[in-house]
Symmetry: C2
Subunit: 309 residues, 2 copies
C-alpha cells in the first residue's frame, strides 16, 4: 500500500465516546503525515500502533481547539521520547507564536526544532515536497482562516519489461534511470526508446482533506481528479441553515463537491454529536455521489483500493 | 454510596494505550469534583457515563501539561453544551491568567463564569466548603509548585431511633434539627437529651489526592487518618534516584506515607510508561502497607468499602 489513510478522529467540536476530534494520518511509502491534531491524538496514535517517530510533518487546517488541542501533549511526548529530529509544522499564519508562548507558559523546552510553514493566500499553493509527494494548501471558507490540503504522490517509476534486459543487454546500473524515463543505447550504438522497454508504473495516488468549510463551488477546482476526497459533513441536509451560519457543510454539500471534482471516492466526517445515526448522512450523500463512505475512528483505508459497500 | 472515586487517568506524562494522563472524579452525594484534567479527560468522562453538568468544582494540582491539557477541551465542551452555571476552579497562583490568555487566543468566549481560588502557602488551607464536604489544600514537593487535596465529608446526620418518635410524640418538623444533634422538649416540658433519641450516623468519609510529589515526611501529617489515600508512585523502588531527581515518588515512598498517615487504603498511580507490569509496584508498596491497590483507568471505588485482594 503506497498510500493509506487512518482516521483517528471524526467528531466535530463535541467528541463522543466513539468519535474523537479531528486527526488523520496519511501514510505515503511508510512516511507519516499528521493532519490536524485534536485532543487525544497521541492516545489514538498509540491505540492504532502508529509509530510516533515516523511523523515528520504536521498539517493544521485552522486554529479551532478541536483541530489542535492535542498538539501540546503530542509535542511534549515527542520530547519525552527523546526526539531530536525537526518537525515541519504547516499551520495558519499566527499559530507559531501562540504555540511558542503556550509551551513557554508550561515551561516546555523542546529538544527538536519546529520548521514552520505559514499557510495563507487565496489560491492553491505548493507548501511541501519530498521524494514521494507534493502537498498543496488551498483556502476553505469557515469562520476563521481555514485551509485544505491536497497530497499528490509523485508519478511512480515506470516498470521495466524484464525480457528487454536480456534482449538489449541492459546493465543493472542503467535501470534506475530507465525507470525514470531515460532511453537506452546498446553496445552497438542503437538507440532504444524508453516506451519500448518499459510500461507505465501504477497510477499516482492522491488524497485531499477539506475541513472545516461551508460548501462553495470553487473548492471542487482545487481538488479536481483526486482519488480520495475527505470532506466534512457536520450536519445532515435538513440543517442547511445551521451549516451556513456556522461555516460548515451538509452531507449533500460534501457530495456535490466530490461530484464536481470528479473524485473517485468520498469520505465524510466531522460529524456533529447530535447525529446518532450517521448512515442517514451517508445515505444523503450517496444520492448525489454513490461512492461515499462515512468515517469511522480507527479505520485505515487503502487509497488505491477503497471498498464502498 | 455517599463517596465514590472514579479514576479517569493513571499514567504519568507519557500516556499509553491503556492509561490516560491524570484525572480523578470524586462523587460526594452525587456532586462531582474533578481533580486534575489531563488530555482526554472529556472523552474519559463520556466513556464512564459521567454527567458533565454535575461538575461544579475543578481542582488542578500543578501546572504540568499531563494534569491540565484536557481543560481547554472540557471548558469548550461545557460552553457548547450551553452551560451557564459558574465553575469553581482551584489551581496554583498564576494559572487563571494563563488559561484566560489561551482561551482568548482561540477566540473562546465562555458563557459561564470561572470563580478562581488561588492555591498557595506552606500549610494546609481550607479552600472550599459546601453542604456535604470541606476541601483542604496542602503543599507537595515537586519541580513546580504542586498541591494535594483532602476531601472530608462533613459529619453525617445522626440517625433517629424510630421508637422514640412515638414514645415522645416528636413532630416531623423537629426531626431535621434532632438529626443535627438538638435535644427535644416534650409537650409536658420534659427535656429529652439527644443521645437518648438518636444514634450516631455513618462514619464521615475522606479522600486525599497526592500527585505529583517526592516523598517527604511531613506529608503524612497533612492527610492523617484519611480513609482513602491516593499517592503517586511514578517509579518502582530501584529507580529511587530518578524519583528524587524528577520530584516523584517510588512505590515504597507512597506506602510509607500511607503507613505514617494511618490511612485505611492506599491507591497508587501516575505510573511511568516504562513500567509494563504494575503488579511489581503494587507488591513493593504492599510490603510496607498491605492495603494498597494499583489504579486502573475507568474503575470506580466505593470509598466506604474498598476491596483489596
Amino acid at each position: 500500500m503506497p498510500m493509506k489513510l487512518t482516521i483517528l478522529g471524526s467528531s466535530s467540536a463535541l467528541p463522543t465516546s466513539e468519535r474523537y476530534p479531528s486527526a488523520h494520518v496519511l501514510n505515503v511509502h511508510e512516511r507519516l503525515y499528521l493532519i490536524d491534531c485534536g485532543e487525544g491524538t497521541q492516545m489514538q496514535l498509540r491505540k492504532n500502533k502508529i509509530r510516533f517517530a515516523k511523523i515528520n510533518n504536521i498539517f493544521i487546517s485552522h486554529i479551532h481547539g478541536d483541530h489542535v488541542f492535542g498538539l501540546y501533549g503530542l509535542l511534549s511526548t515527542f520530547n519525552l521520547m527523546g526526539r531530536t529530529l525537526p518537525i515541519n509544522l504547516h499551520a495558519p499564519d499566527n499559530y507559531l507564536q501562540m504555540l511558542s508562548s503556550h509551551l513557554t507558559d508550561f515551561d516546555i523546552h523542546l529538544n527538536f526544532e519546529i520548521n514552520f510553514t505559514s499557510l495563507g493566500g487565496k489560491d492553491p499553493l505548493k507548501i511541501y515536497e519530498d521524494k514521494y509527494l507534493t502537498v498543496t494548501s488551498f483556502p476553505l471558507q469557515h469562520r476563521v482562516p481555514s485551509f485544505g490540503f491536497l497530497f499528490r504522490e509523485k508519478i511512480p517509476d515506470r516498470n521495466i519489461i524484464k525480457e528487454s534486459i536480456e534482449k538489449y543487454k541492459i546493465p543493472a546500473t542503467r535501470i534506475p534511470a530507465i525507470k525514470k524515463g531515460a532511453d537506452f543505447t546498446t553496445e552497438t550504438g542503437e538507440l532504444i526508446r524508453n516506451e519500448l522497454i518499459t510500461i507505465p508504473g501504477p497510477e499516482p495516488l492522491s488524497y485531499a482533506y477539506c475541513s472545516d468549510t461551508k460548501y462553495f463551488k470553487r473548492l471542487a477546482s482545487f481538488v479536481r481528479g483526486v482519488k480520495l476526497l475527505y470532506h466534512e459533513a457536520t450536519f445532515e441536509d435538513s440543517l442547511g441553515d445551521l451549516a451556513a451560519k456556522t461555516g460548515h457543510s451538509t452531507s449533500s454539500g460534501a457530495a456535490k463537491c466530490a461530484l464536481a471534482a470528479d473524485a473517485e471516492t468520498l469520505i465524510i466526517g466531522h460529524f456533529s454529536a447530535r447525529h446518532k445515526d450517521i448512515s442517514v448522512l451517508e445515505g444523503q450523500a450517496r444520492k448525489i455521489f454513490p461512492r461515499t463512505i462515512a468515517a469511522v475512528d480507527g479505520t485505515t483505508y487503502d487509497v488505491a483500493n477503497i471498498n464502498v459497500h
